[in-house]
Symmetry: D2
Subunit: 344 residues, 4 copies
């Protein structure tokens, strides 16, 4: 009954098998091998346009490097105040952007609104160096609250960003879960809605260590090979990342994994509501945030359930919000047992 | 007949099998899992003292982050002018050290001498901010010329560095090859000879993507968790790196791989000398640098041999130095055929 | 009737005369001249202990460099959300600290409270690299709201900071105004209340271009000569800064200037209240923030008054808060005329 | 008899008087005042085209910020190995360029040649992130050896730089001395010869603290206001710098100062040669580098002469090269006495 995080899983079988399959033989290093090339082409197919794809080892690297491609001196990046780039990356975006500022915005359900974004950007008018300058907008898809931006919401934020001449970045650490939930194509969720650059996460959803930075306009990627190498994120045996993506993307495996995780999250959410608990935010991707009495939390933990408490609003003194994360590796039997215990 | 680089290989069988073995099951992320802990202990055993070990994805990250742990404003890092950190890392050490300067020193066989080091350090006396300040010395073991520092040579450089209050870093991208050549223990080649921090490379010698930064005095590692995370180099599924090291270190596999590669390099070197060619540098680890007539180079390439030309001194107009790299995956039959072709 | 800012003034007569007095003759560069040494000693006298003093050209440099002396990877600096370092320095503190994060705290009258500070620091517990690490607390004295921290308030914040092992920095761009208001000694307002490092501003209060970073414990200043030079802030003709301070500090000129400015600010504040206007914040230093009807603002501007509108809470639709800044150069006749116009 | 450096002087009378003249009165801060605007126009007149001018406090800031305007990730700046940016700026260029590498080139008389430059740039071919990328070429005018690039030499270096798509920066810490020596217009020495950006030094030649970064194509300066502010180099009372330039540029004062200094350097050089000493480099600007027996050095110092020893080639064991710097403030009587002493 481990619901601590989706990065507690290892590698899914197709990913693991792909690594084994590509382990032998010699091939050019640094991304000039046939597997990297084939997988890069597959990204263009999946996104229905030519994209520039760069593999990196971690989601933090993907986010921070993606933002660094648009860095400006005194630049300000706008995101939700609870975004991963804000609170979980130890200043990597600030470091990689040469000291950029990350400005957090409030917003319900982990989402920022065009109104809040425009108001914040207005504090940084063009031509006044005192206040710095706008440099990028970043949204998480799915959000840190387990919710998912609709394509119209993305479009509105993209329009606001583009109106100030800055790009919209999407942190897709849980991109597959969002795509699965929306039932849209990857293109519809990204560049067709105005996204300029995507951190395409695969680690949480079945890979060992595979993230991709996807630029939808390759003109913006011209400096990226240097940014990546300067940060020590160019993998010499690039095949190792490509092979994981090979297994991950083949036959819709990535979306099947996400559907599995999302489905179990829905099951948990519905079960807890049926048992009389409330949820801090609606369940859309693979995370559930119930508010549970401390006695229930203690009972669940005593029975072996693992999860983290999580900050949320309107929490009473004898209860806490907790975060339950499902993954491709979550066992439905664990979910059933957890619900049984919670219903107590 | 691929001798382009040891990073053209994939993963060796024990490494690949270890990854598969650890792929399933759930375990804490970010290095708090049992495999990471067990492998970390194994590092302490191998080095015969308690060491602080941190996994990262690339050798450039290992080097640049290790140096950043000793960064000073206006700091100067001393290394051979042909060192990897100088010419092959796109400014990563400079970037991670906040704009440190890398000062390259000349030296025969890819090695720096205590005399050259002390003379260079004297240009940066303590207390004069104009000229910056000394911050670290870095040596490559094995060197970029395929040679190996003897323990006495390391000790002399360590003494010179310590005399100025700065650490000795060892770039061990080919550490296994160096240890195998010397026939000494890992401890004798490192901290017993004065090394303070080691980039322990495993990728070139059998792993997919596994490097470790090893601090021999954990007091110097206190900021490293933050330095690593700030650079996006903390792996969420740390098991993936630990599993590779598990396979790599078990049963002396890492040294067996190195011995295989070194032995074939010796065979190549001896065969080429027997065929009448000269070598730019002595063969000690897994690289051979023969000087070959252009006609021979053309003949070898026409037959399918792959390798890079390499800068060296005293090269005539109708010949070039080339680099031949062997690895755990090099086929002795390829070596034999190459020598046959070269003997022509 | 210029109340735009105290940095619209030039140099006061004693400062200007001191520059002229020291203009001729030859003296060692880079701070090794007798004037620099004498002025540095005077700082120790003024602060009643041995301090380490470094001149720089701007307040932003003083703040950002002071904070950089305590930088940590992934470091977080805590200040009021409206602090100069947060909103008016174009990311200089972030840049100089290697990508540190500036976390803004809410607080009445431009001040932060120990409670808010402790709560925010708790989000960054020791030993968790994800969330970065606490690195410094910075307060503005006087604040951006024209208010002044009492020594007890400073002590409480210093205790909270020191309890987490981090320093308390004071942005004293208007330090003289604060000291003058409090009627305490410079020592009582700083190190005796727990301040570790002070940006001692002189530019706004009579100098052309003279700021000093004052470390109350010189052990913390060991790297500062390098930090300053690396940022291009070591003045070659250091005499030029020292001479300004010579004129500024002699005979209590600095406090006389501040008393002049503070007194006129009080006059303005009292006059406006007497005329029926309310103030956004109490008048303590040399800034007044009245809330004025748009019609009054228009009338004042039409008559030649210059000032900026300023964000404040609880402002109606037909009124705005404005900022009126007095300085050593403010003419009491201008104040009288302004009040007459405002009373209208 | 102080020949230590031209930055041992204070401010020349016209500069000092201009500061006094502009000290009173209120004017907009941050460069929006009439004096700054007028002086900026004068720069365009002096350079015979519209230029973008930015004042900063130090030469190191001017150089490092100018180079940062052209920074690229993994960027390499090429200059003479003895250039000020290489050996006297504590890593400021590296810091401001986000970790750029400064590659030093050998060259006679402190100058780099197009051949050496092109060969070095060839080590960094486009499209290979391992080796970084070329980002700028920087020359010193006058050089650190006291010599002056001819316009044809500048043009050849500019062509080589532009051929690789990178700019030519000129460190003009002693620009006036170079212009005076060449007898050409400022335009002929800069943009007409291919220079893209100039650090226009005034501090060494009569100002207290006044340097200007001059972009000859304002398109390249778009980010400079942010780069300067982010580094704490935007002066609030910009008048203070503008006033210095006002006095410095009026009536050819700057060139008169340089001619004075250059003339005395010629006198020293000729006198020493006549006395039988040799010079390490020809005397062109305001520096003389004689090779003197240790006994002569001792005699000069005993008599009160002040100067530094300086590294040079082909120096015997009983002699040293020394550097003698003249300035606007050098007294001809000191020169005469020095020569008399040297002639012994």
């Amino acid at each position: 009954m481990i619901f601590s995080s989706d990065n507690w899983a290892g590698a899914s079988a197709p990913v693991s098998e792909a690594l084994t399959r590509h382990a032998s033989g010699l091939a050019p290093a640094y991304g000039n091998d046939p597997v990297t090339e084939a997988v890069s082409r597959r990204f263009s197919e999946i996104f229905e346009r030519d994209v520039a794809v760069f593999f990196v080892a971690t989601g933090t690297a993907a986010n921070a490097l993606a933002l660094s491609a648009y860095a400006r001196p005194g630049g300000v990046v706008f995101s939700h105040s609870g975004a991963h780039i804000q609170v979980d990356e130890c200043g990597a975006p600030e470091f990689f952007t040469g000291g950029g500022k990350l400005r957090g915005l409030a917003g319900a359900n982990g989402k920022i609104t065009p109104e809040a974004l425009s108001a914040a950007m207005a504090d940084h008018p063009d031509g006044n160096p005192m206040h710095g300058q706008v440099s990028a907008v970043s949204i998480s898809q799915a959000t840190e609250c387990g919710t998912v931006y609709r394509s119209g919401e993305i479009r509105a934020l993209a329009d606001a960003a583009h109106g100030r001449g800055i790009p919209l970045h999407m942190d897709g650490a849980r991109f597959a879960n969002a795509v699965s939930f929306l039932g849209l194509t990857p293109a519809e969720v990204t560049w067709k809605a105005g996204v300029d650059v995507l951190s395409f996460g695969a680690t949480k959803n079945g890979c060992w260590c595979a993230e991709a930075v996807v630029f939808f306009n390759s003109d913006n990627a011209l400096q990226f090979p240097y940014l990546r190498k300067r940060a020590g994120h160019l993998l010499s045996k690039s095949r190792f990342a490509a092979a994981q993506f090979d297994g991950y993307l083949a036959g819709g495996h990535w979306l099947a994994n996400a559907a599995h995780a999302n489905g179990l999250a829905q099951t948990i959410g519905e079960g807890l509501v049926a048992a009389g608990y409330r949820l801090a935010w609606p369940v859309e991707a693979n995370e559930v945030f119930p508010v549970l009495p401390h006695s229930v939390i203690a009972r669940l933990r005593a029975a072996g359930a693992m999860f983290y408490e999580w900050p949320a609003d309107n929490i009473g003194s004898d209860e806490s919000a907790v975060r339950l994360v499902t993954s491709f590796a979550t066992d439905p039997a664990d979910v059933a047992r957890f619900l049984e215990l919670a219903a107590g």
